[in-house]
């Protein structure tokens, strides 16, 4: 199955800019369906970007983040051709991870 993570990292001078789009329902657990029943909470709790074995960005999310979250940030360092690893864990224990090359 295709990865849920799309990521693009571009090195420019001393910094690397990262954008990512993650496919996930991010159900808060407060919304009811058409039948009036609560849609159970299902959201990413931890998101981590690692470069050179060290985390350069990590997020602890709750149900307040919307569906298919988009993340953009920049970190100091990173060279063209190096690996950037992205992984997430959700409240059901599911995970996904991907590695992209910095452009």
């Amino acid at each position: 199955m295709a990865s849920t993570i799309r990521v693009r990292a571009t090195a420019s001078g001393e910094t690397t800019e990262v954008q990512a789009l993650i496919q996930h329902p991010m159900d808060s657990g407060f919304v009811k369906d058409a039948k009036g029943e609560i849609i159970p909470p299902h959201f990413i709790q931890q998101l981590t970007f690692e470069y050179d074995g060290k985390p350069v960005f990590s997020a602890d999310w709750g149900g307040g983040v919307s569906k298919d979250p988009y993340v953009k940030f920049a970190f100091k360092g990173g060279k063209k051709g190096d690996d950037l690893k992205v992984s997430w864990v959700d409240n059901k224990g599911a995970t996904d991870t991907t590695t992209a090359k910095i452009q």
Partner: protein, 287 residues
């Protein structure tokens, strides 16, 4: 006593008569002239927004507001409709149970043809939209139709729009009185006020583009269908032209019609025609 009530009756009758007389429009017999309409339509919006390039009108609210435009440019690097677009591509090439596929229903195998929809079918005497054509394709091949408003229909039309990106809208009105009638009815629908809030499509998209309705910036009517289907943040998902028409109706407290009812097909025909020449930009993203 009787005289007074008689006078009252007479004056009421006179007032009513006066009202109905003044309510009649001063226009001469109207002949339908789509070419003139389209020209006037474009002129209205380019005059109103002289700094916006003609092609940029397809970006709706993003062409109306600098700050929103910047955010949208960023968003386009990783657009939220990507997942739906991918799904649409996969679906389009997957054959039906009978071995045929969508390719067999459309000219040029369905690639790069979105800008020709809707069209007037002279055999049937009605307007055919892309969404309608897709469901008919399914039903002809023994498959159940999709809901017109979201998910699969949105994914399929997203893919077809994507293959037509940049191509100018090329809607044709054949020399057939029924086609002209459909166009005219579409135009009438667009300008007719409805719902308890008494809004027409024009109330927002002709009278107030660039202004706000609550927190939203309103899009101009010119080019408004070019970006369909759209991923709308408000919906947290994709929606089709049918979705937009029905939700707009209910937002102004009018009971929506059924997707692909004649009125909706006709208004899509009208709106697409007057935007002829503007590029297809779908699938799109909106707030």
């Amino acid at each position: 006593m009787r005289l007074r009530s008689a006078i009252k009756l007479a004056s009421t009758a006179l007032t009513l008569a006066a009202l109905t007389l003044t309510a009649q429009p001063a226009g001469a017999a109207d002949t339908v002239d789509p070419v003139a309409d389209a020209k006037a339509f474009k002129k209205f919006f380019t005059d109103k927004f002289p700094k916006v390039k003609l092609d940029d009108f397809v970006n709706g609210p993003y062409s109306m507001n600098e700050d929103m435009h910047r955010q949208w440019e960023e968003k386009e690097q990783f657009p939220p409709y990507e997942f739906s677009l991918e799904m649409g591509k996969e679906m389009f090439s997957k054959p039906f149970k009978n071995g045929k596929s969508y390719e067999d229903c459309f000219p040029n195998k369905g690639i790069g043809i979105r800008q020709n929809y809707p069209y007037f079918d002279e055999k049937e005497g009605k307007v055919i939209t892309l969404e309608l054509a897709l469901n008919r394709c399914r039903e002809t091949n023994g498959e159940p139709p999709f809901s017109y408003v979201r998910d699969e229909m949105a994914a399929l039309t997203a893919y077809m729009a994507f293959t037509s990106r940049g191509k100018p809208f090329d809607i044709k009105i054949p020399n057939d009185p029924r086609a002209l009638e459909a166009y005219q009815k579409g135009k009438e629908y667009f300008y007719t006020r409805r719902g308890q809030l008494n809004f027409s499509c024009a109330t927002c998209h002709v009278q107030s583009p660039g202004e706000r309705i609550r927190a939203e910036v309103l899009a101009p009517a010119l080019g408004i269908l070019n970006a369909m289907p759209i991923y709308r943040s408000e919906w947290s998902g994709m929606g089709t032209t049918s979705r937009r028409f029905t939700t707009c109706n209910s937002q102004i407290r009018g009971v929506p019609l059924t997707p692909q009812d004649d009125e909706y097909r006709n208004v899509e025909y009208y709106l697409s025609y007057v935007s002829n020449g503007l590029p297809i930009s779908g699938p799109g993203a909106r707030p």
